[in-house]
């Protein structure tokens, strides 16, 4: 049974992630007054990439994106099976680090700048991600997602500040403007395509699929804040995920990319204020 579940997660998560990405592209296009690609365009892209010739700059650098994918899948499975959220975050970090190392391994100027920026972004959002899991633990006395989402009250009631902080850093996680410094979806960035510059064909498809999984992980984090023991709350949680996604797309289209100084400072200050105030208040009322 559990094996079937795991297989279902591994297959369905990227489908959902891909559909979300497709929706993103359609909505973005409409916002910009374009008609936009079909909903399934991300899948067409990936299938096409898989058929293309994969060229590389050295023998080693593709190894890192494969490992990155494996650990991101691992994270998705832990989270969707209701496992330990802090552990899941650690595994996700491991996956992200392998992705960064992939940029280093190609030893190319554009990839390296992309890697450095990605690393900086990780440093910017990591405190908030850790504090999200700490906050959830503080409320429900458990790191297990199954237990967090089966409590009577949704976590958002106790953790509005932490949730707002999560929304802020979600822009990093989803690689949206203004925080898409390391690798934008758009090829006209000043560092070409950042970490992915030297990847092509199958490897690029793998990176795209990894991103689909990561999108699902990001929304699981949002979902946990709203789901409770009652069945109805799960619909609310899904609805909120939709609203959050729409919000992120609007932000993506409305803001210009910021410099790294701004990205780091703003993320750390927002984390410091929102999470600290929320947790301190919580320590008094509990």
């Amino acid at each position: 049974m559990i094996i079937l579940k795991i297989i279902a997660i591994i297959i369905l998560a990227p489908v959902i992630g891909g559909l979300l990405t497709g929706m993103d592209r359609v909505i973005s296009a409409r916002m910009q007054g374009r008609f936009g690609p079909p909903l399934l365009q991300p899948f067409y892209d990936v299938f096409k990439l898989l058929q293309k010739e994969s060229i590389e700059v050295n023998m080693m650098h593709r190894f890192y994106v494969y490992i990155s994918l494996i650990f991101v899948i691992f994270t998705t499975v832990i989270m969707l099976l209701g496992g330990d959220i802090l552990l899941a975050i650690f595994v996700l970090t491991l996956g992200s680090i392998f992705f960064v190392l992939g940029g280093y391994a190609s030893n190319s100027p554009y990839s390296l700048v992309g890697s450095e920026r990605e690393l900086l972004q990780m440093m910017a959002y990591e405190p908030m991600v850790l504090l999200v899991s700490v906050g959830l633990y503080y409320v429900d006395k458990s790191f297990y997602i199954t237990q967090i989402i089966s409590s009577k009250m949704p976590a958002i009631i106790y953790l509005p500040g932490v949730f707002a902080g999560l929304l802020f850093i979600l822009t990093f996680k989803l690689r949206k403007s203004p925080f898409d410094l390391s690798m934008s979806h758009h090829g006209h960035q000043e560092i070409v395509k950042g970490i992915t510059t030297e990847y092509s064909g199958k490897d690029l498809a793998v990176i795209e699929i990894t991103h689909w999984y990561e999108t699902v992980i990001a929304f699981v984090l949002v979902y946990i804040f709203f789901a409770t023991a009652s069945n109805f709350s799960h619909f609310i949680a899904i609805g909120v995920c939709g609203v959050v996604y729409l919000l992120e797309i609007i932000i993506d289209n409305a803001f210009a990319r910021v410099k790294w100084q701004m990205a780091l400072k703003s993320a750390w200050i927002v984390t410091g204020i929102l999470a600290a105030v929320n947790l301190i208040v919580l320590s008094f009322i509990k």
């Binding site: 994969s54 802090l86 280093y104 100027p109 504090l131 030297e198």
Partner: protein
Amino acid sequence: MNLVAILMLFPLIASGVIFLVRNDYARNVIVRISACITGILSLVVVYVNFKQGLALSFKYEHIIDYCIMAASILIAVYVIYTGMKNKKYFAVVFAAVQTPLMIWFELTYKHGIEIHNDIIFDKLSAIMVLIVGLIGSLICLYAVGYMKWYHIHHDEYKERKSFFFAVLFLFISAMTGLVLSNSLTFMYFCWEVTSLSSFLLIGYTKTEEAKNNAFRALTINLGGGLAFAVAVVMIGINFKTLELSTLINMKPELMVLIPVFLLAIAALTKSAQLPFSSWLLGAMVAPTPSSALLHSATMVKAGVYLIIRLAPLLGTTSVGRIITLIGSVTFLVTSLFAISQSDAKKILAYSTIANLGLIVTCASTGTQESLWAAILLMIFHSVSKSLLFLSVGSTEHQIGSRNVEDMDILMNVSRRLSLYMIIGIAGMFLAPFGMLISKWVAMKAFIDSDNILTVMILAYGSAATLFYWTKWMGKLISNANRKEKIEHSFHIDEEFPIFIQAALTVVSCFAFPLISKYALVPFLSGVFGQATIPIDTSDVKIMLIMLSMLIILPISFSPIYKKDKRRIVPIYMAGENAGDNENFHGAMGVTRKVELRNWYIDNYFGNNKFYFWSNIIAVAILCVGAALMIWGGII
């Protein structure tokens, strides 16, 4: 004679013999054999005494007391003499105050105090003995190969290898004594010997810089020693006891808390916490094996060991709060500082201070979970850190630099050496490895004890940690393809100890559930009445699966590689790649070399102002904390 006594005395005797032997070949053999015996001896002692533990008192206590007294006087005279000669008067003053104080105390009050157990061997001592004995002896083993090449590369320094090896063994002996002693006077003596040994090692090259840094280390540690001495005298006079095990069972009232505070100050100086951290950064002028010894197996671990022992009196008491604050501030500040460093040894030094800060924070939080994390952090830190120091030492011999920026060619020079270094770095911060497991539990422990500030600091500090380790790792794997081939020779006498430590790093991660079950949980049950492993078994299983994945995955990819031959193209440089991936066509048709550099963000984290203010904050915390403690105690 007892095995434990042999364990303490053997390195001391070895040290004396090595000092006297002047023949290079004979000495190397003796050092190697002594190192092996020390390692095996510590294993045997732990094996024999692990289950029951051990508590003994010295048989000829008076004779030993007088020997120790004589040795202390000799040390004091030596310190005062060299201090006067080099015009370092602070060290002179510290030595001239504390030694007479202790001798006066020994001759007057101490006679009325009976010590039941001079030596106590419990689970924590067992762990410490293994750290000191195994890691210490591996470092000595490595030093034999290292020093040979050190003097070939640096012929400007006078060769004093006998002296160097002798001090290494003296250090191990003192450290073993320190972790085994229950009598505070004996512990104080060992404490002072470790300060002296570090002074001698840091000053090895006898350059002006080495001398200054050695005296800085000595002065700061003697300052800590003075605090230790005052604490011992206060405890002795007020409570008529000199046993650590009695002290930690006392009620936390003001007359107890003041000496505990002084002991904690001594521990902070030894563990190089802010505001006392400058000596450890200066210590890197010494040859690498001595840095490895200072950072991993001995010296800095003495401080955190003492804090772990004192944990029952810390926790929610005022002293505990102060020390927690100091530890967490140190962790955050030095983690941020490490980002701005490119010298590998400096990065390691800052990371040591940061990790010790974390251990101090965990230990002084004083709950069962946080102590679990503190001890585990100490174990993993020792193994990974000494592995990293030794590999940096060998790297310096191979590529002639210890700058991280130059390590992009290491993969081409010695694949194995860079692999060992990658294992060491992974051990310091990456997911299924030991340090992270401990950090995880630390986080849980802090939130369970409502330490919001500490949790926040841990989150930020971990993010900074991730940044500076990953960019170092990135340099190692970046596989720079230089045309010139560097001749290298990674000798077996350097590689063997490094290999063992790399293996230990991985094995200790697999073994942590066992360490927890057989050593940590019984020890913590002794302190708290009952204890459990703070991580669920299902999570432990997932961690172990991940660790296996990290080992298996790289191997499992190789068949794919063999089949799949792909076209290799030049690196993209906006069409201006000169064709060899090393140069590009710049403006005006000039061919330029490509230089890729990491980010150091040093206008944020690297300036002296930042460091200065962090030290001021640390001093303020200590002063305000001490004032509040006394004020609160009187009311």
